[in-house]
């Protein structure tokens, strides 16, 4: 695999990576098959401001023989910075969602939601979004009764005419993590694009997307399912400690959620999904996973949302994959820069 990112798009890629890093520690790269690249990719795109000024293009190349993913930044004055990152093969995971079938669709400038979440203290972990025909309420979610008498409850009400598009078919109320929302809003705001929000029943993931001619980003966040009494039922994953997975993943977090996957559920992506080449991997239905996870966590904190690692981000090019691009001759280049990361960027 090889691809070239030029000019201003390098900044977009960098911002996307920064945004993703606020959500999870692992980055799944999916050109034709899945890879797993650890957080060092963020250091490649460390300073967005500097990148903007100095980088002319970014060349990404996969060397399967050496298990290496190479980022080469072509900078001004003929400077080449090469970063060699190791990766691990991983299974391709697909999030099952069909945002076009969702009951409720909203579209607004990300600023609207940014101005909304600013009212919640940083300690707030989850928010509940409730919609009616003309209004959207956002309030912080409080776990248990004891906390309720101590915690401050904050609620913001947005009118439908603050949105560019506000279509409600079903009055739902969903709860999901605020931290991830803040991360994706920062990215969405920086793109200058409108943010679309697809909201369905509790348990179904909420999908937030930004789209333009060269970029499509879907942020899929798990939501609390309605049934808080589920933990009383008997369980599929009995222990809080998940047994190690069959594959050789090194990261515990991936282990735990992969094992929690219910393999009986996992239909392929629906036909409604656009035929994009997605760059990131995902996982199965959040609601299924959430249910399984809750059994194992009933000893712990009650109604917690699933492990926050379970987010999938899709970034894809909306251009049809061109046979030419994949066969473009790559100029042979010597690797000029070493692996060591230099803090100061040469200008």
């Amino acid at each position: 695999m090889q691809c070239v990112v030029t000019g201003g798009n390098v900044k977009v890629l960098a911002k996307a990576i920064h945004s993703l890093s606020r959500i999870g520690d692992e980055l799944y790269v999916e050109p034709c098959f899945s890879l797993c690249v650890n957080q060092s990719v963020q250091t490649v795109f460390r300073s967005v401001a500097t990148l903007e000024k100095t980088v002319e293009k970014c060349h990404i190349e996969l060397d399967e023989a050496k298990d290496r993913l190479t980022f080469t930044l072509h900078c001004k004055h003929g400077l080449l910075k090469t970063h060699n990152l190791s990766y691990q093969d991983s299974e391709s995971l697909q999030a099952v969602f069909d945002k076009d079938s969702y009951a409720n669709v909203f579209r607004a400038h990300p600023r609207l939601l940014v101005d909304t979440v600013v009212h919640f203290p940083l300690s707030v972990e989850e928010v509940t979004v409730t919609v009616s025909d003309e209004r959207m309420w956002v309030r912080n979610h409080v776990e248990d009764e004891a906390e309720r008498s101590r915690a401050m409850l904050t609620e913001l009400c947005l009118a439908s005419d603050e949105f560019d598009h506000f279509a409600v078919k079903a009055h739902h109320s969903i709860t999901f993590c605020l931290k991830e929302l803040r991360g994706l809003l920062a990215f969405a705001e920086s793109t200058g694009l409108l943010l679309s929000m697809y909201l369905d029943e509790p348990g179904s993931p909420v999908v937030l997307s930004v789209t333009d001619s060269v970029l499509e980003g879907n942020f899929v966040l798990a939501t609390l399912s309605d049934d808080h009494n589920l933990c009383k039922n008997n369980n599929k994953g009995p222990d809080a400690e998940q047994p190690p997975p069959p594959d050789d993943f090194m990261n515990d977090d991936i282990d735990s959620y992969l094992i929690a996957m219910d393999t009986s559920v996992a239909p392929g992506p629906s036909a409604a999904n656009p035929p994009t080449t997605s760059l990131a991997a995902a996982r199965e239905t959040p609601s299924d996973r959430h249910r399984i996870r809750r059994h194992s966590e009933e000893e712990e904190d009650g109604d917690r949302l699933p492990n926050k690692k379970f987010r999938s981000i899709f970034f894809g090019s909306v251009l049809p994959p061109s046979p030419q691009t994949s066969m473009q001759p790559v100029p042979t280049q010597e690797v000029l820069a070493s692996n060591s990361e230099d803090e100061t960027e040469a200008d």
């Binding site: 008498s149 009400c157 947005l158």
Partner: protein, 285 residues
């Protein structure tokens, strides 16, 4: 019991928020007393807070454009609530650009102070954000614990040096010792001293000036009149308490002074245009 107050002026809102933020830095919880004319934030000196006590007084008319309250009864036309000022501070911080802010006593899942702000929005309707801050009603039987403190029979009264300078000095001294001696005399001199096995450090302040308390001082049994102006009255205090007081001050007061009762208590008084704050730090052995 009813309470509803509304702030429209942006400067008043800002000022009110800063007062609440200062209180939140001084104590985790305190009692808020509401009367028709005033708001008080009170911390009564208990063992649990190291004997420190606080009295902060605001004239409601200087902050609120509308203010209505009905106390527990017509005889006792007052409301006494235990609050966590940090929650109030957080609620107010994010609504500084509001068109108006209402503070009211409500009953949700428990008694709450609700801060409701009308924010500018893109649509014809305003955006409304509400923060419900849980409070506890203080029963009348306990009201006597939250009375205005009486002025102590002090030995020396002196104006404080600039609070920022004091804070810098105390911050550094805190690294060396847990206790600090504050001493001052009627010649406008104040010293902050620490002493450990290895080192002793003293910072001297001069020409601070001594407030004259007028009749009260001169009638004060002659003790202060005949007092040697050079003689120092001192109190040894827990340095963290003094530091906590200094850390919270965000705005320079119009007047800042300190009354010292020898080996007993330090009484700090800050006066701003609309609000006064008194803080008592007891002596430690």
């Amino acid at each position: 019991m009813k309470f509803r107050g509304k702030i429209i002026d942006v400067a008043c809102l800002n000022h009110f928020s800063r007062v609440i933020t200062t209180i939140s830095k001084l104590t985790k919880t305190c009692v808020m007393r509401l009367t028709p004319d005033n708001l008080f934030f009170v911390l009564s000196g208990k063992v649990t807070n190291g004997g420190v006590s606080m009295w902060c007084e605001l004239h409601q008319a200087n902050f609120f454009d509308e203010f209505q309250m009905e106390g527990v009864s017509s005889e006792f036309n007052e409301i006494c609530l235990e609050v966590t000022p940090e929650n109030l501070s957080r609620a107010l911080k994010t609504v500084q650009n509001a068109k108006s802010v209402k503070v009211k006593l409500t009953k949700k899942h428990c008694p709450c102070l609700t801060v409701a702000a009308e924010l500018p929005s893109l649509s014809s309707n305003s955006r409304v954000v509400t923060h419900d801050v849980p409070v506890e009603v203080v029963p009348r039987s306990l009201w006597h614990e939250f009375k205005e403190p009486s002025m102590p029979d002090f030995d020396v009264s002196i104006y404080l040096p600039p609070l920022k300078t004091m804070k810098n000095v105390v911050d550094r001294m805190k690294n060396l010792s847990n206790f600090l001696v504050m001493e001052a005399n009627l010649s406008g001199e104040m010293n902050l001293k620490i002493e450990t096995d290895l080192v002793s450090v003293t910072t001297h302040f001069k020409d601070l000036g001594n407030p004259s308390w007028g009749d009260a001082a001169s009638q004060d049994g002659g003790a202060s009149q005949s007092r040697d102006p050079e003689a120092m009255a001192e109190v040894r205090v827990d340095i963290r308490k003094l530091q906590q007081f200094l850390v919270g001050q965000q705005v320079n007061p119009s007047k800042a002074m300190c009354n010292i009762v020898h080996q007993s208590v330090v009484h700090l008084i800050l006066l701003h245009d609309d609000v006064s704050l008194q803080y008592f730090i007891p002596a430690v052995a």
